[in-house]
C-alpha cells in the first residue's frame, strides 16, 4: 500500500476531493487550518479571515496501482493552485 500526503490551499479542497473520488480511492482524511510556507510564500492563520483561507492536509492510503490516475488528476490542480503531493510506503497494521 501507499500513503499519499497532499498539502494544498483550502480553496482547492473541493476539487481535490472530487479527483480522489474519481480515482476511486478507498478513503481519505482531511485536516484544515494548516498553515505553512512554500513556493507561494507564507500562509499564516491571519489569512483565514481573508477569503483565500489557509491550507488543508489530505492523507490517502491506497493501492500503488491508483497512483497513476491520481497523478494525472491531481498534477494540474497542484500546478494551477499550488500545494505539494508526496508518496511514501505504508502497510496496514
Amino acid at each position: 500500500m501507499k500513503r499519499l500526503d497532499l498539502i494544498i490551499p483550502e480553496l482547492e479542497l473541493e476539487r481535490v476531493r472530487k479527483a480522489l473520488r474519481e480515482a476511486g480511492v478507498p478513503g481519505y482524511s482531511v485536516m484544515r487550518h494548516v498553515t505553512g510556507y512554500g513556493a507561494a510564500g507564507v500562509v499564516s492563520e491571519g489569512l483565514e479571515v481573508s477569503g483565500t483561507g489557509a491550507n488543508a492536509h489530505v492523507i490517502v492510503f491506497c493501492e500503488p496501482a491508483l497512483l497513476g490516475t491520481l497523478r494525472r488528476l491531481l498534477r494540474p490542480l497542484l500546478s494551477t493552485y499550488g500545494g505539494v503531493a508526496f508518496v511514501g510506503d505504508a502497510e496496514p497494521l
Partner: protein, 333 residues
Amino acid sequence: MQSSVVLQNLLSPPVLFFVLGIGAVLVRSDLEVPAPLPKLFSLYLLLSIGFKGGVELQHSGLNQQVLLTIGSAVLMSLLVPLSSYWILRRKLDVYNAAAIAAAYGSISAVTFITAESFLETSHLHFDGFMVAALALMESPAIIVGLLLVRALAPRNGDSAEKTVGGWGAVLHEAFLNSSVLLLLGSLLIGLLSAAFSPSGMAKMEPFTGGLFYGALSFFLLDMGIVAAQRLQDLRRAGAFLVGFALLAPVAHALVGLGISRLLGLPQGDALLFMVLCASASYIAVPAAMRMSVPQANPSLYISSALGLTFPFNIVIGIPLYMALVQRVIPVLP
C-alpha cells in the same frame, strides 16, 4: 479638516483596538485570536449588519432615491475596476492589474461597519438601504476583473483555459460566495421580520444591536494584527503599489462625494457612499481571483487591500471623508 473629527474617530474603542492589534505585531507580542474565532466575528458582523439594514429598509421602503443610490453604487463598482486597471497596468501584468482592480471596485464590509459605528457615536443618521448597496457592490467588480483578464490576457498554450475557468463557476463565485449570500440573506430576513414578525425582530436587538459595537471592537483587534502582518509582505510590492493603495481610496472617495452631492444624499449616507467607493475587498474578491486568476499573485492584492488601504481607511480615511462631507454636503433641515 477639523481635528475634533479625527480625534473622535481615533479615540473611539473600535479604532483604538485596531491600533492595539497593529501595535501587538510591531512589538512582536504573541497576542493572537486563533482560528476560527475571527470567522465567528465576521459571520456575526455580516449577519447583524444585514439584518439591521433589512429592518430599516422595510421601514423606509424603496423609493426612487433609494434605487438611484443603489444603482450609482453598482455603477461605481463597475467603473472603479476599469480606471484602476488602466493605472495599474502601467507597472503590472494583466493578471495582477485585473485582480487588484477588482479588489478596489469591490468593498470591505468591516470598513463600512466601522463608518456606521462612527456615525452612530456622532449621532448622525444614515439609511438602511446603504447595506443593500454594500451587498450589491461585491459581485460586479469580480465580473469586471474577470472580463478584463479574458479580454486582455495573452493567449499562449493552456493559460487561457486556466484563466477564469468556466463562466458558470465564476458567476457562482461572484454571486453566491458566502459573504454576499449571508449579507443579502440577512437583509431579506430583517426585511421580512420587520414586516411580519415585529416581536421576533425586537428580540434580535440585544444580539444584533447591543452587542455589535463591542464585537466590532474585538474583531478590529484581530484585524489590526492581521493587517500589520500583511503590511510586512508589502516590501515585495514596491512603491508603485504602495502609492496606489494609499491614493486610490482618496480618489475614489472624492468621486463618491461628487456623486453623493449630485444625488442629494444626506451627510450620513454620503459618508457611507464614499467609504464604499474608497474601500477595497480582501475577502470575496481575493477568494474569487485566487480561484479564477491563479496567475495573479495573492500577496499583491491581499496585502495592498488588507495591509494598507484597510488600515488607512479605518484610521485616517473615515474622519477625512467626514471632514469633506461636512464641507460639501449641506445638513438636512
